[in-house]
Symmetry: D4
Subunit: 160 residues, 8 copies
């Protein structure tokens, strides 16, 4: 069953969003992925979010750039946790995406990650951290993942 929904505002965001997808694949957690724009397809987005419960969705990940309303609009239609990935933009380098995603008004939180690929990867990991609270298997895998990461860092040898 799909536990995580990944929504992106434009097909061109896939290069960034792939970082989240790769994490979920590695952890073998099911996900549903869509291109659905808050601005260009608002009705489809709303229907999709409202139907999410039935598909077993527990967490949303939303990636958008510029005046990035996507994550906020999803959050306005659900009480499930919504994680936002600010896409790097051509002119303002994602500062616009970041502020549009993070500066949400009282009552409608979006859990915002870093701009771009690091943020996308961390969105995947954060979604897993949420699921791990009530899913021991994911918790165990996360512990191993972190240990591996630590080992990888500490084993790095600098060649001068």
């Amino acid at each position: 069953m799909n536990k995580i929904s990944i929504v992106m505002g434009s097909e061109s965001d896939l290069g960034t969003v792939n970082e989240a997808i790769n994490v979920l694949k590695k952890f073998k957690v099911g996900f549903d992925i869509r291109v659905l724009s808050a601005h260009r397809a608002p009705d489809n987005l709303r229907s999709y979010v409202e139907e999410a419960h039935k598909k077993g969705i527990k967490v949303f990940i939303a990636a958008a750039g510029g005046a990035a309303a996507l994550a906020g609009v999803i959050a306005s239609n659900t009480n499930l946790p919504v994680i936002g990935i600010p896409i790097e933009t051509k002119a303002l380098k994602g500062l616009d995406s970041l502020l549009s995603t993070v500066q949400m008004p009282t009552g409608v939180p979006v859990a915002t990650m870093a701009i771009g690929k690091s943020g996308a990867r961390n969105a995947g990991i954060f979604a897993l951290e949420i699921l791990a609270i009530s899913d021991k298997k994911i918790a165990v895998k996360l512990a191993k993942h972190r240990k591996d990461m630590r080992l990888k860092v500490t084993k790095t040898k600098i060649k001068l």
Copy 2:
């Protein structure tokens, strides 16, 4: 008949939005005013925008602060012109509101004004400029308004 719809994201935006209202009152152009949040009352906002045609609305003015999705979400539900007023915010002084309002994706324009009160006043004037294209009376009043403004500036005497 109400020709202009003014929507604000929070009651606290009224201090700013009043600048737009005062212009419309002065020009005796009808308007409809609502507090309707893209994030906190998305369904009510959508219904309101979809019904606007029937009330004779020709132009929307939307004021919001922070991750200001309001104008963009209205624009995603109508082909009527949408004018955005970025509200000045406490921490980032409206830079967040400005970027969230102006950096709209291709296909869904929001005509963005300056941050805060000047922007609100200009939103009112810009709405009148749009109406004036097919409404001679407003056009005549706008010409007079501009002349008065010019006179006021040029008559200013500096006392040293």
Copy 3:
């Protein structure tokens, strides 16, 4: 008859402005296009704006970069709606163009779009939205355009 005037500050802005032109061509709405700088050819710009009425111009679109005074100077010489496109710049990436275009003083509004190509395309669409208020044909075309856009988004299939 030309309904829309497109003015750019420099010939090098054409790469961006083309996005607006393509929209107007697609909608078969007549337009007049000029290179006219607020700073380098102020008298020619003023004459051009003052004569615009005679040519049937209803809306101005102005594109400029850096200390982008063009849209504001046009707006200071007409009561027709002026739409501003902030051109992306080499050093400050269009933040200078954006602030110079949007932060207009009370009384002289410029309807500002996003920095760069998205903004240019949206300038074209917004001009059409203004004309559509009193032009049914354009209104019908805009409705179709939006529907197509929506379909295009919702039909996108992600290949993982």
Copy 4:
């Protein structure tokens, strides 16, 4: 049992953090609250985070300002979800806190909220959204909370 841990970098952050506390109190969800600085008391912070499991902590909320390492350092010591609140600062207004909290490297996510009080309140709500995935009671309360919020917005009457 305490389900949520709230850590702040300095006692002076309490004015902001209270917004999160009030949400948790309203929802009657237990929480543990500490002043523990990543920079001024690193060992105490680490011990506290490592012991959190035993106290039944499921989610961390961390508030800090300036070079705000607190949320990130907590996240580096746990796989539980960490929510970051960027405190508004005197000089840079919280832009420093925001970037220090949100721009986390790959592997160590911090779910960042808005700068200041809205962010703090949303941190509380987001923590509840996480718990609600496996706690029906909280889910029901959240649904009611959102409904109330919606009603409050839509009932607002503007007096002109």
Copy 5:
């Protein structure tokens, strides 16, 4: 004879511009002062600039805030040196004024000073430095002024 022209975009800029005036008064250099907006009174501004030669104007000082086109528009109508003072603004603190004044296109320079009162005072001094090139009396006074400034700084005693 008036050698320096001081133009400000709004009467409210006088608090800042006074710093420039005080310098010119102290040096007993004649000046002409006007409120003339590039946006609200463009024709009056142009006429004024074109007539400046006849009044013996050698240097312009222009102060404006927000989308501050004033200095640039003056510079587009004269080959006399134009000095720009970016006025501090409410929301963006003068960053908008600074970029709108300094980021001028090739061919139309504006000599930009610091934001606010320091900038205004320096605008006065810089105008005097220009005049001093062909005016020995002003050069002598400037030398004395600098010496006094130096003495004042070096004589400061810190009381702990």
Copy 6:
């Protein structure tokens, strides 16, 4: 005789500074050019500035990047007008250079131009505008230069 001194902080600034040089060459105004760093060769810089009078220098042009102290340090050693060119930098794109050049304290003005090549070209033109006040020949050439610029702009034909 050399009338204008051009100082740059690093040899690598020449690509930008050449824009100023080309203007001066075109106008056949003599200039002296040096690489002299405020930070790496402060004594040589000071001696050079103090000797400038003897060489007939009337105006300084200074180009530097990053923590760009060069123009300010020259201005602290002379009452001749100093024009600053903020060099575009790798990380912060010249925003650092701009603020370090323009935000001068009371008493020591630097006439700041735009970041990069436009700024360099305008530095040359502004230096000529200063000299033109007491040099008819340069004034006549400047008038012609501006006319040519205007013609060039207005003759631009857009090919669609």
Copy 7:
């Protein structure tokens, strides 16, 4: 003997600089304090820095705001470590001071602290950390100071 020299660009910086002074007083380390501007009293500043060795100065602390050249100019005249404090400014809140202090060119480092009072206090502590390398007494005091700081943080009790 005075081991540390504190230089500030303006008497008005004393409110900030006092934070550094209080640290040095508490540690009973001798210091010399001056108002000496890089821009308004360059010769006095240079002489002072060149004579510093004779007074036993080991470390410089320099505080300045805006186009803050002070720390950099000191660093250009000595090989002793120079610590920079960016003063908070009225318009740009110290972002100008920070970039002017930290973005030094290759070869002339300035050890930059945070904007304002925290930065001033830390400048004092950092100067002590430098001295402590070859002064056991200061090292012992620093260890105690840190322990006290840690205790103070961990003993904070939150009253809800």
Copy 8:
């Protein structure tokens, strides 16, 4: 014996850090170099910092990008001077790294250098300036190094 410790958050920072290494090699001062992340390997980092005394480490240099906690976390575990190098980042160009490194809270100073390679080179030089206080040989070499730098600048000949 190794006197300086260089720590970087990621192997990819080596391109920048090499600038510091080259300075230390040229001065023949011993150094220890590690990849140790505050976020991904916090325990290893802490152990390493606590053991540094035994290896004769006198100064730390820490390089990190984004939410750059590395230098601050080292500083929270030692009283030795810590020098921070903000790494240039893809999206925000190192502004995030700079603010995360420099805006440290009271009591835990990080001596911050410029963003990127200049900052790395200066980190090496600043570390040497600290050691030179109690090491005559390094002081002599530094004096020579500065003289060479000065000569190199002043000998630059511009070819036009």
